[in-house]
């Protein structure tokens, strides 16, 4: 089963993942215009982009544990998934700022004043250098520092999860599930030292 999946993964080119991943972005926007997203398309689009961004970030986080614990190798798609998640975060941010809040002053006030928005912006700020360095030239140029830099993904995903938990009214189930999955995936990639000691 895992072998079959690995075979398919080897055959699937990374550009196909970009293509499939980007497709929902214009499609959802078009649905928003035509009314297919319901009577409040601004919020619907904002939420759809935000949730897709979070799902992609979680997916990116799952790649290393999937290889380590299941033997499933999806490493070659990790950059595509990371870049896609950045663009969904950006789209989410733009829909919020341009279509929802609609005024630069109010956007800035919200970022400063409302903790869940501050946190969301911080996550975006952490992802920005990662998106900029998601190319072979940067990997070569930065050498070992590239790996260090891209560990910013971890705090960024955690902030994204907290942003979702905090922005909803009351304690809702769905954002808490995301948060639990994020923390589990991070725990799975923690160094295995302890496990080794127990086994020995």
């Amino acid at each position: 089963m895992i072998d079959t999946l690995n075979t398919y993964a080897r055959k699937l080119p990374a550009w196909a993942v970009y293509l499939i991943g980007f497709a929902p972005m214009p499609f959802l926007f078009w649905q928003g215009i035509t009314g297919a997203l319901g009577v409040d398309p601004v919020k619907a689009l904002e939420h759809e982009y935000g949730e897709l961004a979070l799902q992609l970030l979680v997916l990116g986080l799952a790649i290393t544990p999937a290889r380590r614990h299941l033997g499933l190798n999806l490493l070659k798609f990790r950059r595509a998934i990371g870049v896609l998640s950045f663009f969904y975060v950006l789209a989410h941010l733009l829909v919020w700022a341009v279509l929802d809040v609609q005024a630069l002053g109010a956007v800035w006030a919200d970022i400063l004043k409302r903790p869940y928005i501050t946190i969301g912006m911080a996550a975006f700020a952490l992802l920005l250098p990662l998106a900029i360095t998601s190319n072979n030239r940067s990997v070569r140029k930065l050498g070992p520092r590239w790996r260090q830099l891209h560990k910013l993904t971890y705090p960024a995903v955690i902030l994204g999860g907290v942003h979702y938990v905090w922005l909803v009214k009351g304690w809702q189930v769905e954002p808490l599930i995301y948060m639990a999955v994020i923390l589990t995936l991070l725990a799975l990639r923690a160094p295995k030292k302890r496990k080794v000691r127990v086994a020995a």
């Binding site: 926007f29 928003g32 215009i33 009314g35 319901g38 009577v39 409040d40 398309p41 601004v42 919020k43 689009l45 279509l99 929802d100 609609q102 109010a106 006030a109 919200d110 004043k113 409302r114 869940y116 922005l167 909803v168 009214k169 009351g170 304690w171 809702q172 189930v173």
Partner: protein
């Protein structure tokens, strides 16, 4: 004693000449789509040229956490709610406490149409043509005693039919409250319909409170109990997060909510490129209700 609000204003008081035209075209338009009870539209609402949201908008975009936290959850899941028979228990400091059958209440009340702005604390809004009766009429029927200072309300608790009540997003049942003078104000109604039709379940069937100058969560749905008391009653969102939701929760663009700026709002129905509009103090009913809060610091009593 219905229709008190209508009587507090004459058309000349509130209607600048230019608005007569828009009001007429609005009425003509409404008559065209066959609305019931257009004659009952309150003068002020008519004069302001408010354009009602569509029935679809009003009945597919709801916050009713008893059926889930998504805006479309109530329309999806509220069909399972049994609203007949329905009893409203009126108790506390009243002369005639008891269990009132919904039909008996309806037989005694005068149903009017009220076209009100509806402003959610999440900074979106609608305009809703409610049908209903003044809460004051119901309270007078029960006979409010002089010691009573507040009115407490309670929503049905029935997890079998209200799946959201199996989660702990809020403490159930949902409760709300008003000061007695707010409850007796002629703008405050118990709504039993929309667009001349029975209130759909997702909007709080068979009867719900509507207090148009307060954020929407004050307008408690599917009410089963009304209690007159001398103490400020607990309210659900205040209990969940006192820093964010006060007892009064009057619509006020000058008092920001920690989560949302309340200066502007998005009127539902304008599509993806809707321009935000300015939020009005007391949701546009300042002239009618500001007197209730004279001398109060509205930033403190938010």
């Amino acid at each position: 004693m219905a229709g008190r609000w209508k009587n507090t204003l004459t058309e000349n008081d509130v209607t600048p000449e230019a608005n007569y035209l828009s009001r007429r075209s609005l009425l003509a338009g409404m008559a065209g789509v066959g609305l019931a009870g257009v004659a009952g539209l309150p003068t002020a609402a008519r004069a302001q040229g408010l354009k009602a949201n569509t029935y679809e908008e009003i009945t597919t975009y709801n916050n009713f956490y008893e059926f889930g936290t998504g805006k479309d959850d109530p329309a999806k899941y509220a069909g399972s709610l049994t609203t007949s028979p329905w009893t409203v228990k009126i108790d506390g400091m009243v002369d005639n406490p008891g269990n009132y059958q919904f039909e008996d209440i309806m037989a005694k009340m005068t149903i009017e149409e009220r076209l009100y702005r509806f402003r959610c604390v999440e900074a979106w809004s609608m305009v809703v043509p409610w049908n209903g009766f003044e809460l004051a009429d119901l309270l007078n029927m029960a006979g409010v005693q002089s010691r009573a200072k507040y009115v407490a309300f309670e929503t049905l608790y029935r997890p079998d039919e209200m799946p959201g009540q199996k989660t702990r997003v809020l403490k159930w049942p949902y409760v709300e409250g008003l000061r007695l003078d707010e409850a007796m104000h002629p703008l405050t109604i118990m709504a039993t319909g929309i667009y001349g039709k029975d209130l759909p379940n997702q909007n709080g069937a068979p009867l719900r409170l509507v207090v148009p100058w307060k954020y929407g969560f004050k307008s408690i749905k599917s009410v089963v109990r009304i209690t007159l008391t001398d103490k400020e009653p607990p309210t659900s969102w205040n209990r969940a997060n006192a820093r964010e939701y006060g007892f009064y929760s009057n619509v006020n663009p000058e008092v920001d909510h920690p989560r949302w700026s309340q200066a502007t709002e998005r009127r539902i129905g304008g599509g993806l490129f809707t321009k935000r509009i300015d939020t009005l103090k007391f949701n546009g009913y300042e002239k009618e209700v500001a007197g209730l809060y004279q001398g109060m610091d509205l930033a403190k009593f938010f």
